[in-house]
């Protein structure tokens, strides 16, 4: 694959090289983009990696929303470009209003670092397009604030629209409906608490994350070959 993926680095990001390594292993080229940049360039997809952007001050993701690059990421998402947020990146995307809901402290007040099983609930997103509905993936989680929440109307809406893309088989953190990952309505913006980049090497905790990155690369290639700023009618497909 030849897709080019932009990986955003905030002060406090710490998973950018893990993501770059996992994507490179699949043949993608990667570019680390500093949060002060005002453009994401010609990339086929944007990844916001895990870590503690801006020290998680105020709330995780709350300050990152104001980094200059986030305006470019929002524009890219608005055009239909694939955007993936992992862990802290998921928190950043919810704070930025690019994904519904919020991530709050784990029930039980524990920082959780272990491998959990997640079910692929929907394949109509840039993260799960190559997966199979009902497929179970073993993925590591590593978070203190991964308890997904939203109001009842939003919850009903995202469930009905198939925006819940990954669900824990056993709820580790109290997340509503055991939600591990959600997409926006169009499916081009996705956030998840598990770390697929840490399940992308047989020497690690397995390779169940690979199918997710393959999906992202397919979406990125399609986005790059279709050309940016396609007609609005096409963006919904």
């Amino acid at each position: 694959m030849t897709a080019e993926i932009g990986i955003i680095r905030f002060p406090g990001s710490n998973c950018e090289w893990d993501v770059a390594r996992a994507l490179s292993a699949l043949g993608a080229s990667t570019e680390i983009i500093w949060h002060g940049a005002d453009s994401v360039g010609d990339v086929g997809a944007v990844v916001i990696p895990g870590g503690f952007a801006h020290g998680d001050y105020l709330r995780p993701g709350a300050i990152a929303r104001f980094s200059p690059v986030m305006r470019a990421v929002a524009d890219f998402a608005e055009e239909g470009g694939p955007v993936l947020g992992i862990c802290n990146g998921f928190q950043v995307l919810t704070e930025a209003g690019l994904l519904p809901g919020a991530l709050t402290r784990n029930v039980g007040l524990r920082f959780i670092c272990r491998t959990v099983e997640c079910t692929v609930e929907s394949v109509s997103s840039v993260l799960t397009g190559r997966g199979m509905r009902g497929e179970v993936l073993r993925l590591p989680i590593n978070h203190y604030e991964g308890n997904y929440t939203c109001d009842a109307a939003t919850l009903a809406g995202i469930e009905a629209a198939g925006q819940v893309v990954l669900r824990y088989r056993e709820n580790p953190n109290g997340a509503l409906h055991a939600i591990a990952g959600v997409a926006n309505r169009e499916g081009n913006v996705v956030g998840l608490m598990p770390h697929p980049e840490r399940a992308s090497d047989p020497l690690g905790v397995g390779t169940d994350g690979v199918v997710l990155f393959e999906s992202l690369l397919v979406a990125a290639e399609e986005w790059q070959s279709a050309g940016r700023r396609s007609e609005p009618a096409e963006a919904a497909s």
């Binding site: 709050t104 402290r105 007040l109 929440t149 109290g174």
Partner: protein
Amino acid sequence: MNYDIIVEIRSLAGLADPEGLAIERALPSLGFDGVQGVHVGKVFRFSVEAPTETVARRTAEEMCERLLANPVIEAAEIRVVADSPGVPA
């Protein structure tokens, strides 16, 4: 005019507050029995220059909506103290 403002941020009712619950469970071991409904939040103190109290309050409300609170999970309560000498550092 200078208005001192105190903003209190709390979890929305109905949302889990595991930190408050942990503290509530710790209290009886120190002999504080019968304490209920412990919630942990955040407090912001600042002063705003504004022509009227209404404008000062409106400014604080906008700050809460756009930054200080996440309306998906948090509620903000704003208290305005009129014409004060300013919040001590």
